[in-house]
């Protein structure tokens, strides 16, 4: 009888100690390259913990980022990680909880890359997440892993008209061809390029014109990297400048600045934490020579 009681007690203790929580990890296949951006966008990573009734105990989230050959390049510093107790039913966590960057220790070249760029080198990676118990860090759930591909988005570079190109007014008044490089890597669904052309007025800097004028062209182009614009504008020479300044006298050409904004399927910028947050390419200027007449 004693043996039976001891055996039952042993089974109960074993069952309690190896009791595990059910978890599920959902991760975007091609998340943003800036790891800090994961924390502000909830759709990137979701970690679901299902707790059985009466089986709730404190846990720590252990996250590991591995290369495809299994080498661990970043892991949670368990000593600093937050201890929490999942709720009685389902607990849903996001990247800010699962992968808190302030507690992730990166190694070697990956650490350097994170420090300099906030990104990991472009490659395929595996993220594994597991719940562990505080103090002894024994597993409290199975490790769930998801593969993801990381590559920083390169915005288009404006190619034609190139910076400070002088266009012939007689040709430009019929058609101006714009070309740019595509967003790299290619996105699915294809990127929508928003092409904007702004007139630079006499007293304006090009950047001032871009940030304050209504665009003469505001066109969305899906997938393609060329657009032929029929300006439907008259490129008569601007009014003569009254000022005596030599700088103003040079303003005989009409000035324009153009840029591309790269948008995703929802119409949002394809990258939100790099540079200006608007996913706008570096704008450049082009000029239009009003007429063929040399003495004008």
């Amino acid at each position: 009888m004693k043996k039976l009681i001891f055996f039952i007690a042993l089974i109960f203790i074993a069952a309690t100690t190896i009791a595990q929580l059910n978890t599920n990890l959902i991760l975007a296949a091609q998340p943003p390259a800036s790891l800090s951006e994961w924390g502000v966008r909830r759709e990137i990573l979701t970690y679901i913990i299902n707790t059985q009734p009466g089986l709730s105990f404190p846990v720590i989230i252990k996250a590991e980022i591995k290369t495809t050959d299994g080498t661990v390049i970043g892991t949670t510093d368990l000593a600093k990680a937050k201890v929490f107790t999942p709720g009685s039913a389902t607990t849903i966590l996001f990247a800010a909880d699962v992968l808190p960057l302030e507690n992730i220790l990166f190694t070697g070249k990956y650490k350097t890359s994170i420090q300099r760029t906030g990104k990991l080198p472009a490659d395929n990676y595996i993220l594994c997440v597991q719940l562990v118990r505080p103090v002894d860090f024994t597993p409290a759930s199975a490790s769930v892993c998801k593969t993801f591909y990381l590559a920083s988005i390169q915005l288009p570079i404006l190619m034609k008209p190139y910076n400070e190109e002088l266009l012939d007014g007689k040709i430009a008044q019929t058609a101006i061809t714009f070309r740019w490089t595509p967003v790299v890597p290619p996105q699915t669904p294809p990127v929508t390029y928003r092409l904007q052309v702004f007139e630079v007025l006499a007293h304006q800097q090009p950047m001032q014109a871009l940030r304050s004028n209504q665009p003469l062209l505001d066109q969305e182009i899906k997938g393609s990297t060329q657009y032929i614009w029929r300006p439907q504008l008259s490129f008569l020479p601007p009014a003569p400048v009254v000022s005596d300044s030599a700088h103003d006298k040079k303003k005989t050409f009409l000035r324009f600045t153009w840029t591309i904004q790269s948008l995703d399927a929802l119409g949002l910028p394809v990258t939100q934490t790099d540079a200006n947050g608007e996913a706008r390419s570096e704008p450049i200027v082009f000029f239009v020579k009003p007429t063929a007449r040399k003495n004008n």
Binding site: S34, G39, L101, E102, L105, F106, Q115, R116, T117, K119, P121, A151, S152, Q154, I157, M159, Y162, D168, K170, I171, Q173, T174, T177, T181, V184, P186, H203, Q205, M207, R211, S212, N213, Q214, P215, L216, L217, D218, S224, Q226, I228, R230, Q232, S234, L236, A239, S243, T259, Q261, L268, T273, D274, A275, N276, G277, E278, R280, E282, T291, A292, R293
Partner: protein, 577 residues
Amino acid sequence: MAIKNIIATVLFFLFFYAATAQEVKEKLNISGTAGISYEGYGLHRSPSGWLGYTPRRPWNQVRFNFSPTFKFGKNFSLPFNLNFAVKPTNFAGPYSGIIKQDFGQYITNPMNNFSVNPKYKWAELQLGTQYLKYSDLSTGDIGIFGAGIDLRPKTLRIKFFSGISQQGINYFAGPPTVTGAYKRRNWMFQLGTEEEGKYLFAVNFAKGKDVPTSSAPPPLTIRPQEGVVVSIVSDLYLEKGFYFKGEGAQSTFTKDIATPLTLILKGFRPFIEARTSTITDFAAQVAVGKKSKDFDIGLTTKYLGAGFQTVGYPYQQPDRLDMTLNTRFNAWKDRNKNYKMNVVASLGRRINNVNNTALKAKQFIGNLNWFTQFNDQWSLNVNYNNFGFQSASGINPFGIKNVSNDFGFNPTYNKSTTKMNHLFSFSYNYSKYDERDVITGLTTSNNTHTAVLTYVPTYFEKEISPDFSILYFYNDVPMAKIKLATFSSALSMPAAKKKLRLRGQLQYTLGKLNSFSSNNNLIASCNVDYKITKKLTWNTYLTTNYFKYGNEIIPNGANYLESTCRTGFQYSFSTKK
């Protein structure tokens, strides 16, 4: 804030004290320009309810400019620059979509400039909106409303400026959508030594920081940021036109101030603390070359690390290495020892992804412009432009490959008689753009041919100046062929005893897409410049554009008429006799 106000006030009074002490007795001279202009825009679309063409100018806009310079003697000047518009028309950047502005937003809106820069000898006080460029890698692209100094005693250079480059703007879903922005404070400082045309050595510091609580609701897609950049600039100009220019910079940038502090990453204390979104990277640029009257050559290299980011150049694209070789030379002298030939060429290579955080992309850029004046009658301009872009494409089977080639050929013939001059100019451009599909690997070619013939008669004894041109444009890409034919003529003439200058242009374009019926476009425009007095002019520009589609869109035959009227007075004044 109180300390800054005190410093600004003290500096301001110091300037005026210094100026008035010596110069009050000397003569005051006022010069500059003042102007007001109105722009009206109209758009009528048919059939009623069709919205296929959107307005591209504000319906009404009034702009003012007033730029007087007060000069007290030869050492003290007080230039004002006031340029402002009545209605906001921001479509890009932090003020995008704003309609109602408060006072702070109005004066910092990039469409308005309010500045005064009192200057006494080598000391300049900078107040109001300033577009200050300290260097290529530190700060220079944005206008900041604030106060600062620019001191240049002998060869020393001391500059400091502090202000606001954008105000907090609340997000509004619309319509129209207001993107929203955080208020951004900026500081910049330069200490250096310079002798113009000989050398420059300077250390630059620039900082920008967003105020996270400055907008409610905050922007949806933009995070509050903070950045610091430190750079060292060195320019050297040697004998015989040789020069060397170099700059090295380090930026520390926090992409999201709301992210937690960390000890794992590097900050730049006491200017910026490390957060989990903080990055620190480097940039450098070097230019060497020689400049002379008939020959220039220069090599420029620019490296921007993947994490190099500054608030002074918000649209700068990082993670690249650019190398450009530029040259310009004159050759082939005529009997009068004037050069007949001018060649301008450049070769460039850009590599993206220097830090391996992205996919490797390589670009080649080549430009050539070759002008030859054979004799008094004939000249020829030839230009060639090429760029190529290649990159892997991640999980797709084929890499990206885009190649563009443009070739232009432009002979001009000039013939003079005793009464007039005839100028015939012909221009032909061929453009080929190849794009590879990353899924199928197939390359599509986009070919464009453009030919223009222009005739410009110039009458020696008459005051009318007409010109005529005819253009043919053909673009061929799979599934789409565009043909355009344009006829245009312009006329320029004085009137009212040369007080009035009239210029007009009429342009008709017949367009055709594939086998659809033709579309038609007629543009009429004129400029009337009236010199009311020697110093006051009245400039008016009127244009109207009528476009009628064929059956390439639904509803068939849709059309629109847009008109623009821009008129304004410009006054130039000076008390100097």
